[in-house]
Each structure stands twice: as structure tokens, then as C-alpha cells.
């Protein structure tokens, strides 16, 4: 046998028994989240500088009130984006569910029952998305553009041109008073509870692992017994239900609903999720990141509104933040690649027939792995 070295060139650290050191995965994740914390603190400081009593409970209440529904919709969308799909129908489902609840209530249904009906509608709409994307394998961006239109259209059919406003006063209070004992709006509290649940599920349960694996490596996930299609279907149904919940809260908070409730909000939700560090390519993202992103967006909006900055400029800032949040990681890599190419000369293309998957994320790829021999 040819004399080849028995082992690889020595690695950084030799095998050292049971290495149970704390997880650098947190480290890697925390880099983005740390950035968000910095941005948040900066925003808060900015707000306080502008108006000395910025950091009081009323501000918190209003931020939560404004952002609550969007925040609730961001949670399931985060999971969907982690599986490398997208759901653009979120705001339309918000509108549809609100419309259904309002219509049924105006026809005499008790408000509780009407809410349940709205949630069922959410589940059905989500199931439609789920069947089309997970079972039929249709591209989620196109499908959810279709259901975005469909749901909005159904809301229009349900309500026509009417605006329903007669909701029981005791429940529309959620738009005015905080949860007793706290300074937070009802939607905020619901969001926080849900965020904790989602956080636990995503980071510490089988389901969460399955979701991440589905987004990172669907084929490998299948080979490990994960039902990728089931996972995606379930997430779309979940999204539908939670958007319905958001719709209920939105309607009751405003004490009114018309067919165009929440139009255009989907873009806010997507922006928040992406800014929260969830990768559009799938497989990455933390709940903390999304929560921070929600708070930043809400606070920023509040500060700018108090400064009487027009909503237009706010839009520019949101768009700018979103752009920066994707350009930075990708752009850095692109610049690196450009520099590498200028250094080494003509580009060494990968010959076809070699099964190297195009990887979206660059881990520490030394570029040369032991050749798969024939």
C-alpha cells in the first residue's frame, strides 16, 4: 500500500474526551441579536434625548398597542421563513378573519363564538396555503400572492362596502386600557406569551429541530425521518390561525372593521422578520431576534411620530434598515469574493457532474476537501 499519512493533518484541537463547552452556536446567533440590542438601545437613547419622558409606561403601552398584531403575525412567519418558504397572505387573513368575526357578530352571534369562527377561517385559509405549497409543491411566493388576493377578496365579499362598528364595549377596551396590573396592552401580553412559547418550541423541542432541519437541508431531514411536507403544512395552518388571532385583536382594538383592514401590513411583517436576523434562505433565526426587531420597529415608529416625522420618512428608514440588514452579511461576502477573485486570477469554475451543492451560507470552507474518488 502506498505510504500515506495515517491521519489527517492535525486539527486545531485533538479530541479531548467529552467536550461539553458552552455552545458557540449561541455566539454566532448572538452576533446579530447583539447588534439589534445596540440598535434598540440607540433608539431608546435617541427617543429619550428628544423627549425626556419618553421612557415612561404610556409610551410602552402605545408601542405595544400599535405593534401587537404585527408582532403576533411575525412569529409564525419567522418559522415559515426558516423553512425557506414565505407567507405573503398574512395581512389579508387578518382582514378576512376580522371581517368574518364582525359580520357574524352583527348578525347576532355572541362575540365569543364569532371569534372562534374567525379562528376556524384562519385555519382553513392556512390549510389552503399548506396544501398548495406542501402537498402540491407550488412556489410559496406565488401561491401566497394568490391567497393574499383571494382572502382580501373574500373579505370584500363578506363585508362589501360596510364598516362594522358595534362591538361590545367591554371587549373593545383592549384598545384603550392595559392589562390590569401591567402597563402593557392586551395584544402585547398575548404576543409576549406567544413569543415565549414559540421560543421554547423553536429552540428546545423536536418540532423546532425538525423545522430548522427542513429549512437547512430538506433532503437530509427526510433521510432522518422528518416529514418535511407535514412540517410545512402545519406551519401554514399555524400562520393562518395566528393571523386570525391578530385580526380579532386588530378589529376589537379599533372597534371597527372594513374589508381593507390591514392592507399592506404584510410587508411590515416580512421586514420585521428579516430584520430580526431570520435568513431568507432558511434555517436561521431566533425568536429573540424577532422580538428585538419588533421592539425596535415599534420604538422607532413611536419616536419618529412623536418627532412629527412624516410616515413617509419612517418608510424610508424601515426600508433602509431592511436593506442594510441583508446587504451587510451578503455584501461582506461578496466583497470578500471579489477580492479573492482579483487575487487568484481567473475563476475556477466547478465542473458539472460534481455534486457540490451551492451553499448559501459560507461556513469555514477551506475550498479543498478530499476528493470523492471514482
Amino acid at each position: 500500500m502506498t505510504s500515506e499519512p495515517a491521519t489527517q493533518a492535525p486539527r486545531k484541537r485533538e479530541y479531548a474526551g467529552t467536550d461539553t463547552s458552552r455552545l458557540p452556536v449561541w455566539q454566532r446567533a448572538l452576533r446579530w441579536e447583539t447588534g439589534l440590542v445596540v440598535v434598540l438601545v440607540a433608539t431608546l437613547i435617541f427617543g429619550t434625548v428628544r423627549s425626556s419622558d419618553f421612557l415612561n409606561s404610556t409610551t410602552g403601552f402605545y408601542i405595544g398597542l400599535n405593534m401587537g398584531e404585527i408582532a403576533i403575525m411575525a412569529l409564525p412567519l419567522m418559522l415559515i421563513v426558516i423553512t425557506a418558504e414565505i407567507d405573503l397572505s398574512v395581512a389579508s387573513m387578518l382582514g378576512l378573519s376580522g371581517a368574518v368575526m364582525g359580520q357574524l357578530h352583527s348578525q347576532g352571534w355572541p362575540i365569543g363564538l364569532a371569534m372562534v369562527a374567525a379562528l376556524v377561517v384562519g385555519a382553513l385559509g392556512g390549510a389552503l396555503n399548506g396544501v398548495l405549497v406542501a402537498r402540491l409543491g407550488l412556489p410559496s411566493i406565488a401561491v401566497t400572492i394568490g391567497t393574499l388576493t383571494l382572502f382580501r377578496g373574500l373579505a370584500e365579499i363578506v363585508l362589501g362596502a360596510r364598516t362594522i362598528t358595534d362591538f361590545p364595549a367591554w371587549i373593545t377596551n383592549i384598545g384603550v386600557v392595559p392589562v390590569p396590573g401591567t402597563q402593557l396592552s392586551y395584544s402585547t401580553v398575548i404576543f409576549l406569551v406567544l413569543a415565549i412559547i414559540f421560543g421554547v418550541v423553536l429552540h428546545a423541542t423536536r418540532a423546532g429541530r425538525a423545522i430548522v432541519a427542513t429549512g437547512l437541508a430538506p433532503e437530509a431531514a427526510q433521510f432522518a425521518g422528518i416529514r418535511v411536507n407535514r412540517v410545512k403544512f402545519g406551519l401554514f395552518v399555524l400562520s393562518g390561525v395566528m393571523c386570525a388571532l391578530a385580526g380579532i385583536l386588530f378589529t376589537l382594538k379599533n372597534a371597527s372593521v372594513s374589508y381593507d383592514a390591514g392592507t399592506g401590513l404584510e410587508l411590515n411583517v416580512v421586514a420585521i422578520v428579516l430584520f430580526g436576523g431570520v435568513s431568507i434562505f432558511g434555517g436561521r433565526g431566533t425568536v429573540i431576534g424577532v422580538v428585538l426587531s419588533v421592539v425596535i420597529f415599534g420604538t422607532l415608529q413611536q419616536v419618529l411620530t412623536q418627532m412629527q416625522v412624516q410616515p413617509e420618512v419612517q418608510n424610508i428608514i424601515i426600508g433602509g434598515l431592511l436593506l442594510v440588514s441583508v446587504v451587510l452579511p451578503n455584501g461582506g461576502e461578496a466583497v470578500r469574493r471579489l477580492r479573492a477573485r482579483l487575487r487568484t486570477g481567473p475563476h475556477l469554475a466547478r465542473a458539472p457532474g460534481t455534486q457540490r451543492p451551492a451553499r448559501a451560507v459560507s461556513s469555514s470552507d477551506s475550498g479543498m476537501k478530499p476528493e470523492e474518488k471514482k
Binding site: T147, F151, G153, E156, L267, A271, N315, I316, N330, G331
Partner: protein
Amino acid sequence: MTTATSALGTRFARGGALLRAREVGIGVVLLLVFGVTTLHNHNFATANSVQQLLSGAALIAMLGVGETLVIVTRNVDLSVGSIVGLSAYVVGDLFKDHPGTPVILGFVVGIAIGAVIGAINGFVTAALRVPSLVVTLAMLYIIRGIDGLIVNGVIITSSNIPNAFIAIGFRTIAGIPWLAIIAFAVVVIVAYAMRSFRSGRDLYAIGSNPEAAALAGVPVARRVFTAFVISGSLAGLAGALFLALHAEVDVTGGTGYELLVVAAVVVGGVAIFGGSGTVVGAALGALLLNTINQALVASRVSAFWNEAIAGALLLLAIAFDRWLSLRVARGLRSAEGAHRDL
């Protein structure tokens, strides 16, 4: 002889033809819808009504052309609606503040605005390798914001716009509205370029198999960049025409157009995954959607049903495309399988 393929496969296997089965199909559906509606409501077929149909679809058709170029390369441009709004307003503002401005300059300015924004989209997508969904989404926000700032609550009305300009919005030649003619010209020119120039075929190659395209020497980044610039420019042009058509514009100009355009393009047979579809199909898709819209109105179907039907249609179109490609693949595979057992 060609290897054994099922009849279905052969029928759809011919590529490069001037009109694929899909475009013909849309045309047929279009005529059907038109015919059926006219039976219900004879007014649907009057000259006026048809002119309205054509004008109404013209803008979306134009946007569809640009969007097709982008989608063919496996990208998407969600900023077109906001470009329309911004362009329309800036052109209107130009006329308002400088009343003597020649009409042609208005168009130039509109196109230029679109081109600049398209260039930014293209640069970030192609050079910085950022997914176009995110880039154009962010630009949508930013442009809306800029638009809002510029508008500042001031509405441009017809009194601000030179008559010659507004005329483009409603004048006809031989009964065909100017808008439709312009849209038609755009479609024809771009369709021809896509078919007959290497750079056009490059776009299809990029969408069909990006790795193979790079290997074949196609300048991928440059082409994608150009696609976005064209998409932006056409949106800018559409913005100027928007102003001409509506003779007024405020901060909400063009809102929601991006989703409409994507729907039209998909219905028109452009695969959302890239690599196939034509601008002719996209334009027909726009025309079909608009016709259905108006047909519902003409048939006294409550206007409230429009959006739901549009949404359902889009879903049907996507599902149908998928079903079709699966059928063709299965047909070809089993034919090949039978062949293989020799």
C-alpha cells in the same frame, strides 16, 4: 427518429416557436370571456368598452413586460408599483412647476427615474448577491417614503398637466387608444429582442440553469443588472402614462401594482422559477385579468367579487402550470421507461 415521446410531450416539447401553446390558450380564454360577457351585456362589445379594456390593461401589460425579464432570470421586482407612483408624481410636478416643458421631456424624466431605481435594484441583486425579493421589497418602502416626502400632501391635477400630455391618455388612432399602441410597441420590441438577440436568450439561460449559464460564458451579473434596469425604466414609463391616463396623481399612485403585475405575469405563463415564459404571454395575462375584471362589472356581478376571483384565478394558473409540467414529465418518463426495457 426522435426518441419515443408521448403525444402530449411532443405537443409541448417544441420550444422557440413564436407562439407557444400557453399564449394561444390565454388568447382563447380571453376571447371566450369576451364573447360570453357580450352575450350577457351587449354594451361590452362597443368600441368605447373595448378601448377602455385596452387602456386599462396597457399599464399593467407594460409593467408585465419588465417583470417578465426579471422573473425569467429567477428574480422578482416588487418595487414597480412604487416606481410608477414616484415617476407619475415627479413628472406631474415637473409640468406643474415648469409649465412650458415639452411632453417628450416628461417621458424622459419618468423613464430616467425608473432606470436609476432599477439600476440600484440590479446592482444590489447582481453584484452584492442579495435576494431580489428582499431588495425590491426594501426599495418599495424607500421609494414610497421618498414619494410621500415629495408629494407632501399636494395633489397634481389636470390643470397642472399640459393638454398634449393628457391627450395621450385618451386619444385614439383608428379607434385604438394611444396607450394600447404604446404598450403594444413595447411588447413587440421587447419580445423581438428576447427572441432574436443573444442577450435575450442569455436571460432564459440564466433562469433555466444558472450554473450551466455561467459555464457557457454568459455574463450573468451584467444581464441580471440590465433586466432590472429595463424593468425599472418601463415602470418609469408606465408612471408617466399613468399620469396621462388619470390626469391626476397623489401619494397613492401605483399602490398595489406590483402584486397585480406578478399575478398577470404568472397567469400569462411566465414560470415563477424562471427560465420560461414570454412578454407576449405576460401582456395577454394583463389583458385577461383586466377583461375579467371588467366582465364581472358588465355582468352585474357585484364588484366585491373581483378580487376574490382574481386571487382564485392566480392560484388556478399556478396549479395548472404545475399539473401540466408534471403530466408532461410523467408522460415522457413512462415513454422513456418503456423504451428502456429493450
